[in-house]
Symmetry: C2
Subunit: 301 residues, 2 copies
Amino acid sequence: MNHFADRLIEQALKLQSRVIVGLDPSVTSFPLALQTRLQAEPTEDCLEEILFEFNDAVIEAVIGVAVGFKPQMAFYEQYGLAGLKALQRTLIRLREKGMLIILDGKRNDIAHTATAYATAYLAAKHPVFNTPNPWQADALTINGYLGRDGVRPFQEVNPNAGLFVLAKTSNPSSGDLQDLALTLGGSVAEKMASLAEQWGEGSVGTHGYANVGIVVGATYPEAAARLRRMAPHALFLMPGVGAQGGSLDAVAAAAGSTGTGAYLASSRGVMYPFRPAEMAGPNWRSEVMARIRESAQALRF
Amino acid sequence: MNHFADRLIEQALKLQSRVIVGLDPSVTSFPLALQTRLQAEPTEDCLEEILFEFNDAVIEAVIGVAVGFKPQMAFYEQYGLAGLKALQRTLIRLREKGMLIILDGKRNDIAHTATAYATAYLAAKHPVFNTPNPWQADALTINGYLGRDGVRPFQEVNPNAGLFVLAKTSNPSSGDLQDLALTLGGSVAEKMASLAEQWGEGSVGTHGYANVGIVVGATYPEAAARLRRMAPHALFLMPGVGAQGGSLDAVAAAAGSTGTGAYLASSRGVMYPFRPAEMAGPNWRSEVMARIRESAQALRF
């Protein structure tokens, strides 16, 4: 695997897009055709199958627009083993299609344990069988609250992998902690951004960005501008456009002079541009794909 | 499920123990007897089986000493689906035995996604099938970096469940962010502790502790004393005794006047008091159990 930041940027330039498409399955939002199948056959296998089939439709729909895909692990974990099996199949499919994968797990722990998380999601090989690791992603979101020694193991397990450290999150109460001012100057979020900048030193690629990026809510454009100064070499992963009220302009403003430094992450807004009942018939897949492709195109800038 | 903090305290008083036993499987530390079986049959099924069998031996060994069990999710996730299946079986076994489960996942996300994590690990029922949720734990570790609206969904999904919010972690670089001073006074860790105290308001049980506790490294006894003042109603979950250098005294000091406010979490120190080669024979289980029981007893205070 080559340098993550370089690959992401090259893909963005090739596609003329900055959209990362979330893959957050939620059965109650699925086309009625799929929900009806599950009602008729309420089994773990059927649940796994419809989770995968819907993801597969989303993936197929946005190829050519999506710079990468961001499966959010919680939405698979909520369905137990059926969900986790569907996630594994989704990751395999994404790799078959040559897509970049940013796994959104916001994992964090002390070094010994962070190494286990890194082994899970960034290692090329299974730790026991030494076979290819089906769960390997190109990048992982992490929470940097534990400091450098909770981050380094991810870099050691795979120096080419990308990491996105939570800095200023998109949610309404992100300020409870992140906006507080430090006596040494700046906010907690700004400090996290400058720590991420430090952690990324030595990993800056040919396009000028490091393999350590940050997560910055598109809902807070002023904070984003300050964070850009704290972390000039960090790619920004920016959720919050759409359902949460953030704007495309906020992402564009954070993208830097080359326009390749910020990426819009959208999940619900892209995945579910329909009401379940509208998609009850046997042709749900092509109809859903057309709508999803349109909603992803609308996020291009 | 009844009030978590009350149940934990009642169990501690009954057993005269404050030890929470970690369940962090690491195949290379396992008895050689199990490693040899896996070498002879290198399959996902065999891996799942030995992960579960070793956990089962640990559980059986420390019943009567362990106030609860803390499986660390990373150590299962690193083994892919085999690991996750072993975790599911472990959780089922713990419930069969009536043991308290603190699932250590340090999950965190915005509200919509936090609800999915809460559904995964704290809900009584599967979200689709409405069957009992095999992954349901009694408590979950979480990261509070996102503030209140990233915490509330866990409380909403199950108000009786326990939450342990990372405040001051046990690792060497925990100070990178957590020790920084805020202009409003106190450190980031202290602020997190006081936020946890706020989040726990309204959930204080008959023993005087809330369902929102905090994680405090036993490696930082002075910080623990300050955090106790910020969060008088929080149960302290304290890792770091043993391999990381923390002491029993640090835990006892944080336990408050009733001695029920702090719990020592130990994983490696309890689970692996042997070298793999010592446990190569067919009687590995009883020999390992005797050693493990001894190592857990040594942590009683």
